[in-house]
Amino acid sequence: MNNVPLRGFCLLLATLSAHGTLRSSEPEVAYRETFPAHRDPSRHIRIAAASKNWEVVEEDGRRFLRVTVTPAPGNLRGLVVWDLAPVQFNALAVRARVNGTGGAPVFLEFAANDRAGNGYVFRPFGESKESAPRTPLPSDGSWAELKIAIPGDLVKIFTKGREISPYVHGRGEALTTWESTDFSNIGYCTLYFHADVPKDSPLIGKSFTVDLDGLELSNAR
């Protein structure tokens, strides 16, 4: 289609080339959740399972998410869902803390979906590649930082509901079954944070809060 006169209006069409450039070699922060006043958080925050309600609270000039979790037998995980416009990232950071647990352990886990519906499960908070199991969030009310690198901290992938790679925690194996996955080009659209308690937790039937602050998605080059 060359030369397109349309009553003074030109119809422009574009499709995207696979070729592109990066703005710079520095890590680029694509998304940082500050709960700004101009955006309604209910458009992208959801809760489910043992999470009972959520609110945005302000403390020392920072606005962050506070979720009240009430575990029950058979419903041990408080779930927070973050809906995103599909965006690519290879590093995630978020601060988390719990209050009202009386010292009982609460674990933080993280997963994501891409826009094709594939699921990605990441290394839980405190777990190391070597052998250390997941560790609970600090019980003294202090903040802990969860940092995820992709694909380094990825432990499972699900596609069409089926796991396509084994969980390799503790073995440090190369995840060769993932070779077909192009980790540099995944449009993540949903993030899932799980606040998990053991089935014999004294928190069952009680409520505690989980704060999530400063969610940041970036692309470390």
Binding site: L12, L16, G20, L22, R46
Partner: protein, 734 residues
């Protein structure tokens, strides 16, 4: 079928969209390609005449279309580049040259009364043709506000580069009716990692947005060599002016803005994000907004109402094609979509028959294009008109409509526990003798009679009209519950009526004129909280707790000795604490916006235009809070409490009430019937760019006028009577 190419595929699709960008014409996608990035991207166009024009976001594999006006003759070399939300950006790609022989008129520059730059701490400084700001850290919001001093119609925001801080890389556009807010987003104008325009002006489409002030909000600045953050601009302008499509006379600015912005958002979805760059498809959270239509029969009637009055050949052709391709089975049952005789492969929806008839009748009577009626279904070669007549016959002869009452056949749809829903409200087991279906049957008889008469088939028209009193009598005999003072939803095959205080059933029945005045008074008294129906869970002001519409039902679904809802294999839990507990699900104590269309029409018909205006004022109050961009989730993680955005293009019916309610414009056999119902504080009302019989009209109703007047394409009728605008442009009393 989507085209796939793992490397690179450049597709160009020629598509003439005649509606100018100022009118908010959504783009149409003719084809698609899988091509590269999986994150959302937006495009920026170098238009070759010193401007850069961005698009909204969408999927990379979809074709993005954009209309851009040119203001001078000449050949302009264009180019585009894509920008991903992560900060990735493509290379500039050359595109075909624009050869402009008939330039558009440059839009008027709106006078800015005041403008200022505001920093993170709230400090303000005047923006005197240029401005910049320096920030200590990243993600510190700042803004530029442009205040026109009064309500204006905006088509473009023009930002000019200049200064040391660099053109803002991250910005979004908001509008307000007052310079102190509240601020409403313009979803299509939200950019991250915006490319350096160098010397080009950046033209951002606003498509007729009504507002007093526009704010450019920078959530973060540009990183500077010294570690600080900043941005700068060499100028900013707002272009537009003129009157909007809907002018509600002397109504205040907010009401005028609401009518037009409701239409912009939910009617033509002009400034929305369409993830497939196509307003006929939904966009997922958190970017979901208004959309134009859904390509399924259940929405064809809505689409016909929304689109047939527009001067938009792209939408009109697509609607026509959808109608042509929608199968009507050998028995006369209208399939919900070409792929299946069951909606979502789940259940037969017998409302598709009246909806199909109404969609065809309305679209034809508006366009008066017989070629539309002769359009053939690709598989069978049968014309739209033939299919429509069979669809009506199916209601009358196969479903028993000749007796006055349509009865839905089959155990699967008999309205008893374990059966399946038969209409839009498929959470409920509407079936057998269904008030919702019969109300639509009644209205479809009216519209089909108009269609048949317009085609010269007076005998058939009279036959259809003669059936209506019989249907009305049967409807009231079957569905009216005198004790409750309202219509029940359905009567099942065992003869048991089911009443959960269905507001949408009652309001639709009133809208279509099925009630007498006493019945209507009782229904409205119930809805207005002046009358409590025993056993209801929602009473008084709580019925309109959502503000924009009544709750869908006033009696909890679980208040029955039987399970009368479809839990979709247990995915809905209606018990307290469940994800579909009362008030937490759109079909069980939640609310869907489109019901307000029937609400407004019902009130206008039975309680008068002032009562409708009062209800619209309630809607407008809600709209003023957040432009109804709300989609909260319940504690089950399901965002189904309210139905306004995403797969609810029917939300656009609410502002359409300005056309067929306030102005009372409806197509009939002889032409456009204009029966204005202006509230007492509205001396006149006007709709512009109204397409009828192949011509664009401006139609006004004026309380001060005594005689109808036609001035070129502008028709003015006295507001106190009913008029007929014939296809030849003559106005008479019907």
């Amino acid at each position: 079928m989507p085209l796939r190419n793992p490397h690179f595929l450049f597709l160009v699709a020629a598509l003439a969209l005649s509606q100018p960008p100022a009118g908010g014409a959504p783009a149409e996608k003719l084809s698609a390609c899988e091509n590269g990035r999986k994150e959302l991207v937006y495009y920026v166009w170098d238009t070759g005449d010193g401007r850069m024009v961005p698009t909204a976001k969408g999927f990379a594999e979809a074709i993005s279309t954009l209309e851009v006006p040119y203001f001078s003759k000449g050949d302009f070399q264009t180019a585009w580049k894509a920008v991903g939300l992560s900060g990735w950006s493509g290379e500039w790609k050359p595109a075909p040259a624009a050869k402009v022989t008939d330039p558009a008129q440059r839009p008027e520059r709106i006078t800015i009364q005041a403008s200022w730059v505001e920093g993170p701490s709230g400090d303000k400084k005047p923006f005197d043709g240029a401005g910049e700001i320096t920030l200590a850290g990243d993600f510190q919001p700042s803004s530029l506000t442009l205040d026109a001093g009064g309500l204006q119609r905006f088509d473009w925001l023009v930002l000019k580069p200049g200064g040391q801080g660099g053109f803002p890389q991250h910005f979004l556009v908001q509008s307000a009716l007052a310079p102190e807010g509240p601020w409403y987003p313009v979803p299509s104008a939200d950019f991250v990692f915006f490319p350096d325009p160098e010397s080009r002006e950046v033209w951002i489409p606003l498509r007729g947005l009504m507002a007093r002030a526009v704010r450019v909000l920078m959530p973060r600045g540009n990183r500077q060599p010294d570690g600080k953050f900043a941005w700068s601009l060499g100028g900013a302008e707002l272009l537009g002016g003129g009157e909007p499509a809907f002018s509600p006379g002397a109504s205040s600015g907010p009401a005028k803005a609401a009518w037009n912005n409701l239409w912009l958002t939910f009617g033509i979805a002009g400034n929305e994000i369409h993830q497939r760059f196509d307003p006929w498809w939904e966009t997922n959270r958190p970017l979901d907004g208004g959309m134009v239509c859904i390509p399924s029969c259940e929405w064809l009637g809505i689409g016909s109402q929304k689109l047939s009055w527009l001067d938009n050949p792209g939408h009109s052709a697509r609607l026509g094609q959808m109608i042509a391709e929608n199968p009507v089975g050998p028995d006369g049952y209208v399939w919900p979509s070409p792929g299946s005789d069951k909606h979502l492969g789940h259940s037969r929806h017998f409302v598709t028959n009246p909806i199909y008839c109404m969609a065809v009748a309305h679209h034809y009577l508006m366009a008066r294009d017989k070629a539309f009626l002769e359009k053939a279904e690709p598989m069978t070669g049968e014309s739209i008109l033939s299919k429509t007549r069979r669809a009506m016959d199916f209601q009358i002869d196969t479903l028993g409509g000749r007796s006055g009452l349509v009865t839905i056949p089959g155990r699967e749809h008999d309205g008893t526990p374990g059966s399946l829903g038969t209409n839009y409200w498929d959470f409920w087991l509407f079936g057998y003798q269904c008030a919702y279906t019969n109300a639509l049957f009644y209205e479809s008889l009216r519209q089909m009679a108009e269609l048949e008469e317009s085609l010269g088939n007076k005998e058939r028209a009279e036959e259809l009209r003669a059936l209506r009193p019989k249907v009305k009598e049967a409807f009231n005999r079957t569905f009216w519950d005198d004790k409750a003072g309202r219509y029940v939803g359905w009567v099942d095959a065992a003869g048991k009526p089911h009443d959960f205080g269905f507001t949408f059933v009652n309001l639709m029945a009133l809208d279509y004129g099925l009630a007498d005045q006493a019945q209507a008074d009782k229904v409205l008294a119930w809805l207005d909280g002046k009358r409590v129906v025993e056993g209801d869970d929602s009473t008084g002001n709580d019925i309109y707790a959502f503000g924009f519409a009544p709750r869908s039902n006033t009696r909890d679904a679980r208040h029955s000795d039987e399970v009368l809802v479809n839990t979709w294999n247990g995915s809905f839990d209606i018990q307290p604490g469940g994800n579909a507990a009362y008030g937490l699900q759109i079909q069980n104590g939640g609310a869907i916006f489109y019901v307000s269309y029937h609400d407004l029409r019902a009130r206008s018909r039975y309680a008068g235009p002032d009562d409708a205006a009062k209800r619209f004022a309630g809607i407008e109050r809600e709209f003023r809070k957040d432009h109804l961009r709300r989609d909260p989730a319940n504690s089950g993680g399901v965002s189904d409490i309210v139905g306004i955005l995403r797969e609810f293009p029917e939300s656009g019916l609410v502002p359409y009430f300005f056309i067929d309610g306030v102005l009372g414009i409806e197509p009939s056999a002889g032409g456009l019937r204009i029966a204005p119902h202006l509230p007492s504080d509205m001396p006149d009302a006007t709709v512009r760019d109204f397409q009828f019989a192949g011509k664009s009209w401006t139609i006004s109703a004026d309380k001060a006028a005594w005689e109808p007047a036609v001035d070129g394409s502008h028709v003015t009728v006295p507001a106190m009577a009913t008029w007929l605008l014939a296809p030849d442009g003559k106005v008479s009393k019907p």
